[in-house]
């Protein structure tokens, strides 16, 4: 298995891990957002969606373990790449200007990534690791988002996710070797579109609850 360790341990290997797990999270975000849309169907629709999801039982546990594994790989390889990149230029430039390649997303990738990680922990503590006896998920969410501070944190976090995804999505295709003048403009467009859908789709929900209360 030395060959596999060599490939995964290389710079390209670590990037491949970032790309695969990152795309996995994009699929997850899409599913999560689609589920959350039931909120607009009212209290019962949202609670029923949550119940159906939980009725999956062991399947859901497997998915959760999978997400945790993906997160671990994404964070660990991302940290290793970030530290490696810091080391690659020990002396910084007195003056450095962009030639137009960098974007807000690409520039801030490690930082938005770290903030999103903090947010995920915060989010799980709010809605996942809470006592759910004698209450419904709609109630829990509604209570949380009646507080403007929570709404502010969530909206800010969703802007972070959107910025992170705007670079991460197309970047994953490039890393996996899928770059061709024929279809790369479409992937880049999709990347911006998806980041807007994710940022606005999730970001508007807390505001909706705030107005509801």
């Amino acid at each position: 298995m030395n060959w596999l360790a060599d490939v995964i341990g290389s710079s390209i290997g670590k990037k491949m891990l970032m790309a695969l797990t990152g795309l996995g999270f994009c699929v997850f975000l899409f599913g999560h957002l689609a589920g959350n849309m039931t909120i607009y169907g009212g209290k019962d629709a949202f609670n029923s969606y949550a119940e159906h999801l939980h009725s999956l039982g062991p399947l859901l546990t497997v998915a959760e373990i999978g997400l945790l594994l993906f997160a671990t790989v994404h964070v660990l390889s991302g940290t290793l790449l970030f530290l490696g990149n810091l080391k690659a230029r020990p002396q910084r430039y007195a003056m450095k200007k962009s030639a137009g390649g960098r974007t807000v997303g690409s520039r801030t990738m490690p930082y938005t990534g770290f903030l999103v990680l903090l947010f995920v922990v915060f989010h799980l503590m709010n809605f996942h690791f809470v006592d759910k006896t004698n209450t419904t998920i709609f109630q829990i969410v509604n209570n949380a988002f009646s507080d403007p501070i929570y709404v502010g944190i969530y909206v800010a976090a969703m802007i972070m996710v959107g910025i992170h995804v705007s670079h991460g999505f197309w970047s994953a295709f490039q890393t996996l070797g899928a770059n061709h003048p024929k279809y790369m403009p479409f992937i880049k467009g999709l990347s911006i579109g998806f980041s807007l859908i994710v940022g606005m789709g999730f970001g508007f929900l807390p505001i909706y609850f705030l107005f509801l209360s």
Binding site: S10, I12, K15, R92, G101, M184
Partner: protein, 255 residues
């Protein structure tokens, strides 16, 4: 018809990185570059400054150069934070002083990367690139009689793409401009121009693995698709070559 002479002279303030040797601390020093013709190239401007330094018994600014027509890949420095200066698709020797204005301050620094040690002032040791080429950037051909032309058919599109990648002059601007000091565009170009041609295919797998390993060992950073390399490359080499390197690496490593 009289031809209008658009050339004029400008005066500049230069802040140049001076470093006596590899293990000595360097710093930016200020020089005046006076009466510089706008028809001069950037390197000719440095020649003028150096002549004055020599006349004043001071150490001239060391910088790499050779052909001075953008094909050898020897010259290169960061000019006001941009590799090879602010113009697109040119090397430092092709940058002309007409792109600067009178009284401008110009900051000149060497390529900065752990893999490119500073030898003196603006001269950096780019032998890490040679090591990567030695690791696999070649084809093994048994020499014999001259083969007939067109014995091995090469599709026009493949030839064009290979030629675009082969335009790389190994100047190091990709590493210098990359926020991560990554050499992926260089390695991507070298792997691509050989992998696209029939003669390069037999060794494509070992080549991709060996060159990436050497690149990592030399201490270059990791590509995060910032695309600064593509924007700064004097030969305008595309990052599609990095994607091809990634494909070649997956094929060689996993399949």
């Amino acid at each position: 018809m009289t031809q209008q002479n658009s050339s004029k002279n400008i005066n500049l303030t230069l802040k140049v990185w001076r470093q006596v040797g590899p293990n000595v601390k360097g710093r930016l020093e200020t020089y005046q570059a006076n009466h510089i013709s706008t028809d001069m190239s950037f390197l000719e401007m440095l020649d003028v400054v150096n002549e004055e330094l020599i006349l004043n018994h001071r150490d001239p600014i060391a910088f790499d150069h050779d052909c001075r027509e953008g094909i050898c890949g020897m010259c290169g420095a960061m000019v006001n934070g941009r590799a090879h200066g602010p113009e697109k698709g040119t090397t430092l020797c092709q940058l002309h002083m007409r792109h600067f204005s009178d009284q401008d301050t110009v900051i000149i620094e060497p390529w900065r990367s752990r893999a490119f040690r500073i030898i003196k002032d603006l001269v950096v040791d780019r032998s890490a690139f040679d090591k990567i080429i030695q690791a696999g950037g070649y084809i093994s051909v048994s020499a014999g009689g001259t083969p007939d032309a067109n014995v091995i058919p090469v599709p026009q599109e493949a030839a064009e793409k290979a030629m675009d990648a082969a335009a790389c002059i190994g100047c190091g601007a990709c590493v210098a401009s990359c926020p991560n000091a990554s050499a992926m565009l260089f390695v991507g170009a070298k792997v691509s121009h050989l992998a696209l041609l029939p003669q390069g295919i037999p060794e494509a797998a070992i080549r991709a693995l060996a060159m990436v390993k050497k690149m990592d060992d030399c201490g270059f950073g990791n590509c995060t698709n910032e695309t600064e390399c593509e924007a700064e490359c004097p030969k305008e080499i595309s990052i599609t070559n990095i994607a091809r390197l990634n494909r070649e690496y997956i094929k060689a490593g996993l399949l």
